[in-house]
Symmetry: C2
Subunit: 402 residues, 2 copies
């Protein structure tokens, strides 16, 4: 019977593992395919937007010196020279006494240095009356005002968002190097294969969904019985950056998956993590690839993913998103054994102007209902035994506030 003698803290694991862990391989993908992936290279802007002075309104481009005296009662008359539409390159030059129709976003012709909005102008034939003055560059966007060289578009390990896609496209890029973050999941358990269990295994869907949500492509979900040799064979064939084995990690009689991982002779291995729930997790690194066991119980699985796996990938240099955090008042005391990092499911909700945080302690680490009913979690640090009722706590929200 194998009993975990020592539980390792997350900080300790991350500190030890960082020597062995590395970023995944790099693959070039098309800009639009890169959404939600992690950039493998720093990309800095090179262009100016606008590339030359541009109008920010529909109106008439003028020389501001010409309309200094213009007002509602004393309009200034100007000759209309032509017009410029958005995207056109004006071919003429504005001289004193001249104006030209200009569209929002269109480039000013040479000589122009301000734009009078259409509301303040009356056109009759080829002449306009201007009813307002303008400061130099009024209603004009100057080169670089909207975008200029030297802006960091993405850096190594940043997750790519829609705004990044637009900037990469603007820079004329068609592809971008990203990290090839893929995962294989193995679900082990005689009970499922022998159909003893009345229900199918389900926690692997939570894990697969979590990975996909964080930009990690799940290439495979397989099922095997509790057989070290078979599990080892499956493990050995894995070429994914992340390999996850679920189930078979209890502290009970059969630690098949940990035994199988040990047979890989990993460069780094730790079994037993000071997190509750989720203490039976095992982390190993071999050839810069990550192997981990995760509980088949949904809350323990989520606890391992959030409190161990996510910080580990962030340590590797992948900027996995954090959930939004809010602070609220605890409605009930929560405790955890001292020395353990506590993962507490909660329901955060507004009640007469206050944000209340209700711990959902019902059931054990398998309590799927609490994940359906809740919207976040709070963490009890290792050096605390918990929080008292009424205390102000920070909650990570995986779903919007109720």
């Amino acid at each position: 019977m194998h009993v975990l003698k020592k539980l390792h803290s997350v900080n300790e694991i991350i500190n030890e593992a960082k020597e062995y862990i590395a970023l995944p391989e790099v693959e070039e993908v098309q800009i639009r395919e890169s959404l939600g992936r992690y950039a493998a290279e720093k990309i800095v802007s090179k262009l100016y937007l606008p590339p030359r002075p541009k109008s920010t309104v529909d109106g008439y481009a003028v020389k501001y010196e010409d309309v200094l005296a213009a007002s509602a009662s004393t309009p200034v008359l100007l000759k209309v020279k032509g017009s410029v539409r958005a995207g056109e390159t004006p071919t003429f030059r504005l001289e004193h006494g001249e104006a030209c129709w200009i569209e929002t976003g269109a480039f000013l012709p040479e000589g122009a240095n301000a734009v009078i909005p259409i509301e303040n102008v009356l056109q009759r034939n080829s002449e306009i009356s201007v009813f307002s003055s303008a400061a130099k560059y009024e209603n004009v966007s100057l080169p670089g005002e909207e975008y200029k060289p030297g802006l960091v578009i993405v850096d190594r390990g940043w997750r790519i968002t829609p705004v990044h896609l637009a900037a990469l496209k603007l820079e004329g890029l068609t592809h971008i190097p990203t990290y090839k973050l893929d995962a294989r999941i193995l679900v082990t358990g005689d009970e499922f294969l022998r159909k003893v269990s009345p229900y199918p295994p389900f926690t692997q869907e939570l894990v697969a969904g979590w990975l996909e949500e964080h930009g990690i492509k799940v290439r495979e979900v397989s099922f095997l019985s509790d057989n070290v040799k078979e599990i080892y064979r499956w493990l050995k064939a894995s070429d994914a950056y992340v390999t996850i084995i679920m189930g078979g990690t209890s502290m009970g009689k059969h630690d098949y998956s940990v035994k199988a991982i040990k047979q890989l002779y990993p460069e780094y291995l730790v079994h037993g993590v000071a997190i509750r729930p989720g203490k039976t997790a095992c982390i190993a690194i071999k050839n810069e690839r990550l192997y981990t066991t995760i509980s088949g119980l949904p809350v323990a699985a989520l606890s391992s993913l959030e409190l161990l796996f996510k910080p580990l990938l962030r340590q590797a240099g992948l900027n996995l998103p954090e959930w939004p955090k809010v602070r609220g008042k605890l409605t009930r005391r929560v405790t955890v054994k001292a020395g353990l990092l506590g993962f507490v499911r909660v329901k955060a909700y507004r009640h007469s102007g206050e944000l209340l945080v209700e711990p959902l302690m019902l059931g054990g680490s398998g309590a799927l209902a609490s994940l359906l009913e809740g919207n976040g979690y709070l963490v009890i640090p290792e050096d605390l035994e918990g929080y008292d009722v009424g205390e102000d706590v920070e909650v990570s929200l995986y779903r919007p506030l109720l």
Copy 2:
């Protein structure tokens, strides 16, 4: 020259449009494919978890009545009858004076009503010494404690998350009805096709990424010149739930895309929205499909997506996610013309214990740099002209806090 005479408020548009808008078609997809999509049916749980009493620790199942007197100094001796592993269905019955080895998650045999953790037990041959008492059902999870019939797993229009996937899988479902939310995007502009512009169009990538991020599949991004007939032909062929035309919506001389949309004879059409930036947007509904024009300027495009398009789809019954919201202190005054809903890009950051909100007003509605540098936006309601420096404002964060 077409000038928008009246700008319509978002509330007015949503109120009028709701008569014409409808939910998209329904399609069945595999559970794992449903992540990020919107459920088209309410699904309520039918099962109990655990299905029968289950141990929450590794230890020995007992009758609690047998160990009432047990303590560290006066252990109780029990005969070991057998063992139960997780997922097994125990075939024997526990009688008085008997115990059985039980694993975390394993079902209790008939007759057992408590579990003594392994730490409090010493086994020698087929006998154990129990060093602690237990209350009835101590370390036991009772049926339904973790999951029970009647829980709402998903409801119509809910976005499907990893936790939902796990519950759907548990219920034995292989497929789930979801809404077929797809989009086609057309980018119009002579300047891009005639290669007058020094840069390629790029805002469509922001829009496409935004749609994908919100679970709307972008099926096509096409490019056409500013030609009403061609745009109309492309529009007419669209069978997507959402059809978006970008560019060509200025209040200037060429409203090609609005003209093309009008030729569809939509049941509902509005042009000119009281939002700044983004007032030139047009929304139309025909045969329960949505047609909209969005500015080619990135900030105006994001403003339309967040303040007009998202509430419209939420009105239709699709529970599009809201960004997390935080409150902070404004570092600079922001204003908008009265009567307009103001979309203000901001950078929210912590500074000596305070959350500060810095408006990024640099540049116009094209200022891509401000979207790269910022992490959120605030909204100025129609009945306000703005917020003063130092005021407490609410920010929607599209990226984590800095």
